[in-house]
Symmetry: C2
Subunit: 184 residues, 2 copies
């Protein structure tokens, strides 16, 4: 049993395994695509390698079909459950990183007006998408999911507000005024 490091991806998988009872990577892929992937994207190939990693660390069990597709089915172990519970109970995760590419461009000297216009469009679309999802949430969806969606909506609103304001300001391109004020 190797000593593996648990990343957010690990906990996503553990959480889904716990919720589902058991799952193949493909199941995980479906679930992620339909839910959590909206605010925490995971590549599908990760949903093959990560459960295998978890199994190596003793956090999950595998069982493999002997015939046909030889699908692997994963199940969370007690050790996995413990790790997940401990992570959930840890109330001090690192704070959010904003990491918005538009903001980065702005910072690095992009012309605000066209950038802001584009960003407004992008974020409006995302906002509408979220609101549609929110309106169509079926019964039985876990409350955490709905709350996450609401958080997403609130932040998209804020982005729209922010970029709209910037678009209306009509400044010229951000000057790169740091130029020359540092020497090696």
């Amino acid at each position: 049993m190797d000593d593996i490091r648990l990343t957010p991806t690990s906990f996503v998988v553990l959480g889904l395994l716990e919720a589902a009872g058991e799952a193949t990577p493909y199941d995980l892929k479906q679930t992620v695509a339909a839910s959590i992937g909206n605010f925490w994207p995971i590549q599908h190939s990760q949903l093959y390698s990560e459960p295998a990693r978890l199994a190596r660390g003793g956090f999950a069990d595998v069982e493999r079909e002997e015939t046909g597709r030889r699908r692997r089915t994963y199940r969370i172990t007690d050790r996995g459950r413990e790790a997940l519970a401990a992570w959930r109970a840890d109330v001090h995760p690192e704070p959010t990183e904003l990491r918005d590419l538009g903001l980065l461009k702005l910072f690095l000297g992009a012309d605000p007006a066209p950038l802001a216009a584009g960003q407004v469009k992008t974020h409006r679309a995302k906002l509408e998408e979220y609101e549609a999802m929110r309106a169509g949430v079926p019964e039985g969806v876990p409350p955490g999911m709905v709350i996450a969606l609401e958080a997403g909506i609130a932040h998209e609103r804020e982005w729209v507000r922010f970029w709209e304001e910037l678009a209306s300001e009509r400044r010229g391109p951000a000057s790169r005024s740091a130029r020359g004020d540092r020497a090696g």
Copy 2:
């Protein structure tokens, strides 16, 4: 000249090189720590490898001291400038990912009340930090930086609002109701 892929990190380095005229990795490190690192963190070792990569791709030039520390000094090339300009002008970057660990925990079944309480503290602290930075912005700082800071402040406010509201709601732990409704 290899064919390298340009990542956000690449553009950060290119942008800083353009602004500074020339820089050593250590200069970059300082600049990042003091400014852009607040919303787009980059490991310092990346500030050694990334400029080297850019040089391999023809986007930057290196010059190395022959004596003493043998520091490497990088300078953006015309090719780099073009790539940077093209990236800046591209108005359709992928939209923000929220990627908030607290939200992820909530989604994966954490008990909302204590989580929210902790998150409120974290985000309040970050908010205060940003507001202090904002109050002390010296002359000559590029406007993009200030605007980015303002965006950060707005989102931190939103997070505080969100978690405070959740903290006041007093729900029980989010039920993982998806349990059992999928089969392999």
